[in-house]
């Protein structure tokens, strides 16, 4: 590599970094606005026009806030932990393509690289928990480790079935393979497993038991404040964006769009916009889930991962491989997958996850409440 090439790469990498930062800033505001809408509030609306400058105000506040180091903490581990969480989440972006030729390094084993690097952030969370020398942080860190490694298996398995279909782990080739139909149609079970396990990997609701404030008061982050805490925050939103982007790339056809009447640079920009619209939709679903579902308990979380998602992902791989081998029509996978998704929801509804029967909560339907209200009942 010549020096000019290296400088060019550096510029491209900085551009990508700036892009991710802008997305993260937008996401922090978008999540608060979306949650506010779901809960019939207005959300942040004071800073700038309708609260549009809120993320900058937050960043300024975090940077000028006192950075507290607990006296009994293990100083080195405590300070390094935010970097250890941020680094793997960011390194993934080397190989993620945003449009046909908008990628830094199109690795042949791109997906393998992603799965290998992304799990390293467990280390950072454990370090944060251990370094704080706080019992809540310690429990939170261990919970994070237990949860992340449990959901790593179905997460990778869902990726593997995509690999079987596309016969490649190169993200560009996978997207090219979806020119006709997105893999979501052939892999509904895979999409379900991927998105569920992805939410658990992010530690977002309903899988946010490791920073459950009512149980472990913020988990690994309890002792952090100011700039160090903001790095964790940054990593969390960046990873949310990553999972949404991966969902679009693997299951929703990436930048593949209905034929656009453009060519050259305009075409690249158009397909990039198309890709970002799809990503925004997935992110909206993630926020929507956060606004809708309560948090799981740790025993429900573990049994859901090991007793339902792991066997379902085994079945998915076997199904995909057999249909491919016997050259059965594609709708076979779709129909059987929907059957299994139905079975999973049946088990969840029946309360098989709750362990013992006393724990099952009666589900109140909205229609019941409406019926009671229309009968003039006091609420």
């Amino acid at each position: 590599m010549s020096l000019a090439e290296i400088i060019g790469l550096f510029l491209k990498a900085s551009l990508l970094l700036a892009f991710i930062f802008i997305v993260v800033l937008i996401l922090t505001l978008a999540e608060r606005k979306a949650l506010a809408r779901i809960q019939q509030r207005k959300g942040p609306n004071r800073v700038g026009f309708k609260g549009i400058l809120q993320p900058f105000a937050d960043a300024l506040k975090l940077l000028t806030k006192e950075d507290i180091l607990p006296a009994s903490a293990n100083k080195r581990i405590f300070w390094v932990a935010p970097l250890a969480v941020f680094l793997p989440g960011f390194l993934i972006w080397v190989t993620i393509p945003l449009a046909k030729d908008v990628v830094l390094a199109n690795l042949d084993m791109g997906l393998f690289y992603i799965t290998a690097i992304s799990v390293l952030s467990v280390m950072g969370l454990l370090m944060a928990g251990w370094g704080s020398a706080n019992k809540w942080a310690m429990i939170g860190g261990l919970r994070a480790a237990g949860q992340l490694i449990s959901y790593e298996i179905p997460f990778i398995m869902a990726i593997l079935s995509i690999g079987i279909l596309a016969q490649s782990f190169n993200l560009k080739e996978i997207v090219d393979d979806q020119a006709r139909w997105p893999f979501a149609i052939k892999q509904p079970l895979g999409l379900f497993i991927f998105l569920t396990a992805g939410l658990a990997e992010l530690g977002r609701t309903p899988f946010d038991i490791h920073h459950a404030e009512s149980e472990v008061v913020g988990g690994p982050f309890v002792e952090y404040s100011g700039a160090h805490w903001s790095v964790f925050y940054l990593a969390e939103y960046m990873n949310t964006f990553t999972i949404a982007v991966l969902t679009v790339l693997l299951f929703l056809g990436g930048w593949q769009s209905p034929t656009l009447p453009f060519s050259g640079t305009v075409h690249t920009v158009a397909s990039l916009s198309w890709f970002l619209i799809k990503t925004a939709l997935v992110i909206w679903v993630i926020f929507w889930i956060r606004g809708t579902y309560p948090r799981l308990r740790i025993d429900q979380l573990m049994s859901f991962g090991w007793k339902i998602l792991v066997p379902a992902s085994f079945i998915n791989i076997f199904l995909t491989a057999s249909v491919l081998y016997y050259a059965l029509p594609d709708w076979v996978i779709t129909v059987v997958s929907f059957g299994f998704i139905g079975a999973i929801f049946y088990f969840i509804r029946r309360g098989s996850l709750a362990g013992n029967k006393q724990d099952t909560v009666k589900i109140i339907k909205t229609s019941d409440i409406r019926a009671q209200l229309s009968n003039g009942a006091e609420v």
Partner: protein
């Protein structure tokens, strides 16, 4: 061949550059914070109570690291087994199409046996109660 090696190293060289950037950015964020505290924009007023570890507003009872649940070990053990298996599945998945043209049903059957052995272990773990939390 030389060209192939070159692109190979170029790709991983990009990752190295990217890693440098990934370390530099959060570090510079932390350094900005530190510089702000030098400029007296950011306060730094440690006190005994502020620096004690948080424990729901009470005085700290458990000093430093406390006990934790043994089950995290069994979960980690299970994870290692499954993860190693997944690593073996990667090359199989990538070359499934070309290999089954050459070797036929053997490719699918072999992996069924491989996963089957693991599923047996998984059922055993379930029966032993390793998958239960409480």
């Amino acid at each position: 061949m030389a060209d192939e090696m070159n692109t190979y190293f170029t790709q991983y060289g990009i990752i190295a550059i990217f890693a440098a950037l990934a370390v530099a950015v959060p570090t510079s964020m932390l350094l900005i914070g530190w510089a702000l505290s030098l400029l007296k924009v950011r306060p730094k007023k440690p006190s005994f109570v502020k620096n004690s570890i948080y424990e729901c507003g009470f005085e700290t009872i458990t000093e430093r690291w406390s006990q934790f649940n043994f089950r995290y070990y069994s979960i980690a053990l299970l994870f290692v087994i499954f993860d190693v298996e997944v690593v073996f599945l990667f090359p199989w998945a990538a070359s499934f199409g070309t290999m089954s043209e050459e070797f036929g049903l053997f490719v699918l059957g072999e992996m069924t046996v491989f996963i089957g052995i693991l599923v047996l272990g998984w059922i055993y773990a379930w029966k032993k109660g390793s998958l239960e939390w409480s």
